[in-house]
């Protein structure tokens, strides 16, 4: 089912959770809503589901405007972070719930309901556990029951709110891969919320990066990672070094150096910020395009060597290289090195701390909203 989100505004008291959101989702797509706590991603998901109602705007499923319709009439499958399974029911009864509450004339016969529920449990690889109670399952199993329960109503769209948030790292990774396979098998239009950029980038066809109730960028993993539209997107998708730079004519200079790193810039002259990831910095020969730095300390974390360094202008930066890389020889404390930038983004200079650093929780968010952000 194709979904169109048009000009959605939603405020909790005086806190604007969504400030005009437009989004198109194609039928059969797997989309991630990615953003920090308080960015409005969960609110957007709940508005699409019908668990919250927008102050303004339209939610269109296919051709139908759903904005005023309650969740019950939307036929959406919703999966909660903490599963929300019915504890007093067996796994089978949980999955069958959506079919059993249908009106009599639409309800399949009981035998068919059971068969359908068993099929779904096979699909989520929980065959044989149908008589267990939720309390007897592990977290990963519970989340798969929740998924089967949501799929039982043949939803027009599947919505998942931080579906792996309550699971440990290993299970999360397995489930992620498994969800991708399941989506490819069933082809249900799926939207999921996450604050984990790795999860979003690995799982989704397209990623919607949100910040402060607005969409910053929509794109494929490659697009948002390699051509971030805003400093926020760059910063949120991974570790970031921000270096002072300057555009003169069509050339970009970084950190007060006199060898330009770009010679065909489209930016207007003036001060800029050069955003570069620690892993995109490499040692080069003196005088080459780049900048100078002094290594302060190095630390080996697993397969990666992480260095802290200070540039000529006094900016602290981080460098990451695979520990077998030939640069590791040079990267010793107190060494002076010339660094080149493999890949980077140039943005007009901003006052930092506005979008640059991420607030953990938006300060004037109401308590309920904040509690949800933390969960």
């Amino acid at each position: 089912m194709e979904i169109k989100v048009r000009g959605i505004h939603k405020a909790f008291g005086s806190f604007p959770a969504l400030g005009g959101v437009d989004l198109d989702i194609a039928s059969g797509e797997l989309v991630a809503l990615l953003g920090p706590s308080g960015s409005g991603k969960t609110t957007l998901l709940r508005v699409i589901a019908g668990l919250e109602f927008p102050d303004r705007g339209a939610i269109v499923f296919g051709e139908e405007d759903m904005a005023g319709r309650p969740i019950r009439e939307r036929r959406v499958g919703f999966v909660f972070q903490h599963y929300a399974l019915f504890k007093h029911m067996t796994v089978l009864d949980n999955v069958a719930f959506g079919l059993r509450v249908r009106e009599r004339r639409e309800r399949p016969p009981e035998a068919l309901i059971r068969e359908r529920a068993r099929e779904l449990l096979e699909l989520v690889q929980l065959g044989g556990l149908d008589q267990r109670y939720p309390a007897q399952l592990s977290g990963g199993q519970r989340q798969r029951v929740a998924l089967a329960r949501a799929l039982a109503i043949e939803p027009r769209v599947l919505l998942l709110d931080e579906p792996f948030g309550a699971l440990d790292a290993k299970v999360r990774k397995d489930l992620r891969r498994w969800l991708r396979q399941l989506h490819d098998k069933t082809g249900v239009t799926t939207i999921f919320v996450t604050h984990d950029q790795e999860e979003a980038l690995e799982l989704a066809d397209r990623v919607v990066v949100m910040n402060r109730g607005r969409i910053e960028q929509v794109g494929t993993t490659d697009e948002v990672y390699e051509q971030p539209a805003t400093p926020f997107v760059f910063d949120f998708l991974g570790n970031t070094n921000v270096l002072p730079g300057e555009v003169r004519g069509r050339e970009v200079y970084v950190d007060g150096q006199d060898t330009p790193i770009v010679t065909a810039s489209l930016h207007g002259s003036g001060p800029v910020d050069v955003y570069v990831r620690p892993g995109d910095l490499r040692v080069t020969e003196p005088g080459a395009p780049g900048f100078d730095a002094v290594i302060r300390s190095t630390q080996r974390t697993g397969p990666i060597l992480r260095c802290e360094a200070v540039t000529a202008s006094g900016q602290a930066i981080e460098i990451e290289v695979p520990h077998l890389h030939y640069d590791t020889q040079t990267l010793r404390p107190q060494q002076h090195v010339r660094l080149r930038l493999n890949q980077f983004s140039v943005f007009p200079r901003q006052t930092r701390n506005r979008d640059g650093t991420l607030p953990d929780v938006v300060p004037n968010a109401p308590a309920e909203y904040r509690a949800r952000g933390r969960a």
Partner: protein, 281 residues
């Protein structure tokens, strides 16, 4: 060998022997010994004498009334208590804190005060009684009045046991049910009620236990007509006043046995309900 045994019984929580000792001592001094005393005293009658006292029509009627009214009151509370708890947990309204505090009044009010107040209200010339009387409904000085008193004192037990459970049952459960297409009625009957059932049963048991032994608030509204509105605790007092100690303890022991049996049944029910959601989360 002994070292191995020792290390096996070691636990992180200290003081098992000490605390268990105290527990047993307190239980014995405060509960077991006085109760045993009841039975010992009653035994003075001999089996035949005991049966004679307990099976006399007046005693039987009083026991029936006491247990019947207590069960009825607890049942009424088991229905409306969760409803009240639901309102307090789910909705915001002006004066909520005030009403929430009012729920506890039956806990705190001296029972005689409650009894007199209820009697004044429901008597033929009382605020409420004057409207019921013309309809042919007599409340004060009838078993109906006793049921009302039992309901009054049992209410906080049910509300206070159900409230935290409702609070814990995430709003998400209701949202999940709605997303699956359940209407309000189906959500309440299939999801919410089963969730609060064990707590409601606990509240029911507590309310019942309290109401069976209730004296102060009941005797005023009961009217205390032998065979009609005379409760068992009152009968015990009457026997005591007649210096019939053995008879009094016989009635008391009958109450004890009946209460114990009923509480066992309720406990079994609770265990059954709880087993279905064995652990939290």
């Amino acid at each position: 060998m002994s070292a191995i045994v020792r290390s096996r019984t070691r636990t992180v929580i200290p003081g098992f022997g000490l605390t268990l000792g105290y527990t047993l001592l307190y239980l014995s001094l405060l509960v077991l010994i006085p109760l045993a005393g009841v039975f010992v005293h009653a035994a003075g009658l001999g089996a035949e004498g005991y049966w004679h006292v307990v099976s006399s029509p007046r005693v039987l009627a009083a026991l029936k009334l006491s247990f019947g009214a207590a069960l009825a009151g607890a049942a009424i509370n088991a229905v409306f208590g969760p409803l009240i708890a639901w309102v307090f947990v789910r909705y915001e309204f002006p004066g909520k804190r005030f009403f929430d505090a009012v729920i506890d009044l039956p806990f705190a009010l001296p029972t005689a005060v409650a009894g007199i107040a209820l009697t004044a209200l429901y008597a033929g010339n009382g605020w409420i009684g004057q409207y019921l009387e013309p309809l042919g409904i007599k409340v004060a000085y009838t078993p109906l009045g006793i049921i009302i008193a039992c309901t009054f004192i049992g209410l906080p037990f049910v509300v206070r046991t159900v409230q935290p459970v409702l609070q814990d049952a995430e709003k998400e459960l209701e949202e999940a049910a709605a997303s699956l297409g359940a209407n309000r009625w189906q959500t309440v009957t299939r999801v919410i009620l089963p969730t609060v059932l064990p707590a409601a049963l606990t509240g029911f048991a507590l309310a019942f236990a309290r109401a069976v032994g209730e004296y102060g608030s009941v005797i005023f509204i009961a009217g205390n007509l032998p065979m009609v509105s005379e409760i068992a605790p009152l009968l015990i007092i009457i026997k005591l006043e007649e210096f019939d100690y053995a008879g009094a303890t016989a009635v008391a022991s009958a109450m004890l046995i009946l209460s114990f049996a009923l509480l066992l049944v309720i406990n079994g029910l609770q265990a059954w309900a709880r087993r279905r959601h064995a652990h939290v989360r």
